[in-house]
């Protein structure tokens, strides 16, 4: 930290320190939710629906119940009613034109897609907890088999015979009627934003573009599938959970069971990736707890890879129409961005795809709007940069189209409309270094050598294309607490109830605490991942560095202060009587700079050899009303397209991001690399396929659901523009988890256009889209 109270020494914060948990992870010592060996543990397997809409008429479980090792089969017909289970109302899918014919077997219960689509938002996430017989998507959990071994549970799950009253599902999002959401749930904000006069701005434009951009359904697929172990002790529940949000799981499960939250403890010391899908609880946590209570034994449930498609969220499909108008010199006169995204009939989840459009460019006339189509698929949810990943594809593609229409360099167009303050709120930025990002990335990329004309650059048989786009993501922060304790032996431990989802939280928080206390990182033990620790926000929305980082920084600072005060008030201390401000801490020593001083160990030895502790809870304050807080970046991409064979390669991506203070140069770089790799996948490969008639997820495994492989990735050149932002957080960080993917898909699509002259407005850019 740059705190004046510290002695001069290379700070730990910012250093590319190896992960403190790296050894545990590579040796298998890091234990994930499903890996706890608990005596008496039994196994559960979910039974899921094979139709997309209707009712479960009957479930014949008699064969399954008699199968070897089976302890219990739970269905909507015998599952205990949970006092706090949310009660889904009749949220009809969007109206769809055409005959209401019944497909599949079984008679219709007579509730086809009803007339005009129901209005109004289903705000809360509605998990399916076997509380009713309604089927809302194909793959929905409709039963749970508990057996002594996983194999027995799987075998019995296959033996459950289900009959349905099948209704015709609504699956054609292109035809389904749009529903205006009442609110932008759950990320907040208004459905519509308007500033200035968009119609006027478009009418006055010398040049304009107006196109529709489409992004497909996608599913997260972290390496670790969702898993839960539930163990009851009396009326208390312990959950080992694979989650990004231990407190949100605790609170939701407690609510379902009508329990006080402090009766539920959720533990997640390591989570094998989440990307948003583990941001909050789904069905399986409470179902596992229900099963454990029913059978009176601890129960483990691990989703199959196939069950990762539907029951635990995904990115919705978006259809975004963007109109831009500009004067001849590139000055934007109007931006209109309307986004229509899919949702389920369980939750009116809005992909906030227009949020960046409200503030990215200094345009006086801007209008954005959201619509939803409710279809019979699993609920959408947060997926790495929800909103900005899909939204920047549309907006930054449109900006590229405008640049061509204007015959202007794409970077120059963006600089022409650079927003010196938040154009929507009028507030100053807490920090913004986007200009430097463009400059840094463009220079390293060699952008100035670009020939603007499409198809103008070749390398042998390849057409070479260069494209760029802007990256952005909000800098959010939540309330967070921490406790820190200095031990008599000079080591310190710090605890905060956050999560390690692979981002390097154990490591970066160790670094923050080490610097604030003035001890070596090796002397710090940072603990996280249990709800008996101080509450912290879920590891979503890139909040952890700013939220937990502030709490850890502040609690370590408070502990240090306590110890300094102890020393200067102690006549036996060499520092007795020194002013607090004059004391520096370095390598576990309190000094005034020279030889005068003592160690934490010596200080505590004189004070009864007892640990000294500090606790803190932090929250964002008035600054959130004074400043607009966002991270920014620039992505430059080179693609090679074989014009004959329609092969697309991405040999080179160059990025620059300004994301506040970098806590660890190595893990930060990894975050951007991961985001870029995912962006390549989003641009070229990723798409969840739903059978158009049955609503079945049909590419629900990693052989068919394609993400980039090593051979797809070329060099990724990452740089950061340092801009410690003390408005966002006392640790100066803005968060880095999401921004890496934003802008990447647009940058690639723009490069493909530059290479081929072909503008692809629908992701993913597969072979057939460049085959002419």
């Amino acid at each position: 930290m740059s705190s004046p109270r510290q002695a001069k020494r290379a700070p730990s914060v910012g250093a590319p320190m190896d992960r403190v948990d790296g050894r545990l992870k590579v040796t298998g010592g890091a234990r994930y939710a499903a890996e706890y060996a608990i005596p008496n543990l039994v196994h559960a397997v979910m039974v899921t629906s094979t139709v997309a809409k209707g009712r479960v008429r009957a479930m014949n479980t008699s064969v399954a119940e008699r199968a070897l090792g089976v302890i219990k089969v739970l269905t909507p017909f015998n599952a205990p009613r949970l006092p706090g289970a949310p009660k889904p109302g009749p949220h009809a899918p969007s109206a769809e034109p055409g005959p209401q014919s019944v497909s599949g077997s079984g008679a219709s219960a007579g509730q086809g897609a009803q007339g005009p689509a129901a209005r109004g938002a289903v705000a809360m996430r509605l998990p399916t907890l076997l509380q009713d017989d309604v089927v809302r998507y194909n793959g929905q959990p409709i039963g749970l088999v508990v057996a002594d071994t996983l194999e027995h549970a799987r075998e019995a799950a296959d033996l459950v015979r289900v009959t349905y009253d099948v209704e015709r599902p609504v699956l054609d999002w292109t035809k389904a009627a749009a529903i205006p959401p009442e609110q932008v749930h759950p990320l907040g904000g208004e459905r519509t934003s308007r500033r200035g006069d968009v119609e006027g701005g478009l009418a006055a434009a010398a040049v304009s573009v107006d196109h529709t951009y489409i992004t497909p359904l996608e599913n997260h697929n972290p390496m670790e599938v969702h898993s839960t172990i539930a163990q009851w002790e009396g009326d208390s529940l312990l959950l080992y959970e694979s989650t990004q949000g231990i407190f949100s799981v605790r609170n939701t499960v407690a609510r379902h069971f009508g329990m006080a939250p402090d009766k539920v403890r959720v533990v997640a010391y390591f989570t094998g990736g989440g990307f948003g899908s583990k941001g909050g609880p789904w069905s399986h946590e409470s179902l596992t707890a229900m099963a454990a209570r029913e059978v009176g034994r601890p129960v483990k449930l691990v989703l199959t890879r196939r069950q990762m498609f539907g029951p635990v969220g995904g990115r919705p499909r978006t259809e975004q129409r963007v109109a831009l108008g500009a004067a001849h010199d590139g000055t934007l006169t109007a931006i209109r961005h309307h986004s229509k995204s899919t949702t389920s009939t369980l939750e009116d989840w809005v992909e906030p795809a227009t949020s960046q459009t409200r503030l990215l460019y200094a345009c006086p006339n801007v209008e954005t709007q959201y619509d939803l189509v409710r279809v019979n698929v699993g609920s959408p949810t947060f997926m790495r940069a929800p909103g900005e990943s899909t939204g920047t594809f549309a907006l930054e593609s449109a900006m590229d189209e405008l640049a061509y229409a204007l015959k202007m360099d794409p970077v120059a167009l963006r600089l022409k409309n650079y927003a010196e303050q938040d154009p929507e709120s009028g507030r100053p930025w807490s920090s913004k270094s986007l200009r430097q990002c463009y400059e840094s990335a463009a220079a390293r990329f060699g952008w100035s050598g670009r020939k603007a004309e499409p198809r103008s650059t070749r390398n042998g048989r390849w057409l070479v294309g260069w494209g760029m786009a802007t990256a952005t993501y909000p800098a959010r922060r939540g309330a967070a607490g921490a406790v820190a304790r200095m031990l008599p032996d000079g080591r310190a431990w710090v605890r905060a109830g956050t999560q390690e989802i692979g981002c390097g939280t154990y490591t970066s928080m160790t670094q923050v605490a080490a610097d604030a206390l003035g001890i070596a990182p090796g002397q710090i033990r940072f603990e996280l991942g249990s709800t008996d620790m101080p509450e912290n926000p879920a590891s979503t929305g890139s909040v952890t560095a700013a939220s937990t980082g502030s709490a850890v920084h502040d609690v370590a600072t408070a502990l240090r202060q306590k110890l300094v005060q102890l020393a200067i008030a102690d006549p036996q201390s060499p520092l007795y009587g020194v002013s607090e401000d004059a004391v520096r801490t370095l390598d576990g020593r309190l000094t005034t700079g020279g030889d005068r001083g003592e160690t934490y160990v010596a200080l505590l030895a004189r004070h009864g050899g007892q640990p000294v502790e500090a606790t803190i809870s932090t929250r964002p304050g008035a600054e959130t009303q004074q400043y607009s807080m966002h991270s920014f970046g620039a992505v430059f991409t080179e693609v090679w397209v074989d014009p004959d064979l329609a092969i697309i390669r991405v040999p080179r991506v160059v990025t620059a991001h300004a994301v506040g203070r970098i806590l660890n140069a190595k893990t930060a770089r990894s975050q951007i690399i991961g985001g870029v790799v995912w962006g390549v996948g989003m641009a070229l490969e990723e798409e969840t396929l739903i059978d158009p008639r049955s609503g079945r997820y049909i590419n629900a495994d990693l052989a068919e659901y394609h993400v980039p492989v090593n051979a797809d990735i070329g060099t990724i050149d990452v740089a950061f523009i340092e801009e410690p932002d003390l408005h966002v957080s006392s640790v100066g960080a803005k968060g880095i988890g999401e921004i890496g993917i934003t802008g990447v898909a647009a940058s690639i699509a723009n490069a493909v256009y530059h290479a081929t002259g072909k503008r692809v407005r629908e992701l993913p850019i597969r072979i057939e889209k460049v085959l002419s």
Partner: protein
């Protein structure tokens, strides 16, 4: 999850003796040989294959690559894909086979996958792999979900109203172009089957994929002596750079003499319901001048009978580009 018996066969005749009791050697076979297991075990986990008896053939030897006395190659059924792809003779004399194998799956899979397993791998049609969906191949008479469903990756040649699934193997395409022979030992003795006749068209029995009968064990595959003056190449097109099945692929064996195609063997993958031999195109090319016009014309002929489905119309064009480029590579008209 199904219960099954597992026998590690010690001799070929023991293996055949057990498998001979199977009601079929096709879809639904209650007895299955298991080699590398990378197709079979995967499909068993998905509930697509439900054998009651597995006969492990990994201890039967059958894993040598040897010269035949005619100067061809004899490839044991259990030779692993990686070993075959990197065999110096294969690399030198049957380059298309090496390239085809190396374009398939991943290094890890190729280390365990076998020659006979690859030959007999099942389609990747996503509906076939999903027991909740109707599929004539998996459950005869239940219907074909892929027609009018998501059929982007499926076939345009050799389809029937009952099934449009592709044979997904890369190796098989090269074997067809190289005129391989499959050697089978069964309850009634040994026999040989030309590679081209080994796989069946779906017709109205898409559950029948090969000519194998209960008990039939593939023991080895032979390749005729290489044409020393010919060049063989394999070209595979797909969305991602690796670890994906072919959208279109071509194996070509070409000898050019005096500026003309002298000897031509062509097969395509990713587009046919079986590894697709392009006999008519071979005929057209033989004796024709080696130039771009001839090649374009040949590529057009290759897809003359193509029947695109709702989502895979692009394959008609892609297949032509693929074949044409493979021919350019083999004739030196293109270098990469």
């Amino acid at each position: 999850m199904e219960r099954f018996q597992y026998t590690r066969a010690r001799t070929v005749s023991e293996a055949i003796g057990i498998a001979a009791h199977s009601s079929t050697a096709q879809q639904g076979a209650p007895v299955r040989y298991v080699a590398g297991g990378t197709t079979l075990v995967d499909l068993m986990k998905l509930g697509v294959e439900r054998p009651t008896h597995l006969v492990d053939i990994n201890k039967l030897g059958m894993n040598a690559i040897e010269r035949t006395k005619e100067g061809g190659l004899r490839i044991g059924a259990l030779v692993r894909n990686a070993a075959l792809a990197h065999d110096p003779t294969v690399v030198r004399d049957y380059r298309a086979l090496s390239e085809a194998l190396l374009s398939g799956a991943s290094a890890q899979l190729r280390n365990v996958a076998t020659t006979s397993g690859n030959l007999l791998q099942r389609t990747r049609c996503m509906y076939f792999r999903n027991t909740a969906m109707a599929c004539n191949k998996r459950e005869p008479g239940s219907g074909c979900s892929a027609i009018n469903g998501d059929n982007r990756t499926l076939a345009i040649l050799g389809t029937s109203p009952h099934c449009i699934a592709t044979n997904p193997s890369d190796m098989n395409v090269a074997l067809v172009a190289l005129d391989a022979t499959i050697h089978v030992q069964g309850p009634k003795g040994t026999r040989t089957i030309p590679m081209q006749a080994f796989h069946l068209l779906p017709g109205d029995t898409p559950d029948r994929e090969t000519v194998l009968e209960p008990g039939d064990l593939v023991t080895h595959i032979t390749l005729p002596p290489p044409n020393a003056r010919a060049t063989s190449r394999y070209l595979k097109l797909r969305d991602r750079a690796s670890y994906e099945f072919a959208l279109a692929s071509a194996a070509v064996v070409v000898e050019v003499a005096g500026g003309q195609f002298h000897y031509v063997r062509l097969a395509m993958g990713g587009v046919g319901t079986k590894p697709w031999r392009m006999s008519a195109v071979e005929e057209r090319l033989t004796g024709a001048a080696v130039d771009d016009a001839t090649i374009r014309d040949a590529a057009q002929l290759a897809v003359r009978d193509a029947k695109p489905q709702s989502e895979n119309g692009f394959k008609v064009e892609l297949a032509q580009r693929c074949l044409a480029h493979a021919l350019r590579l083999a004739t030196g008209l293109a270098s990469i």
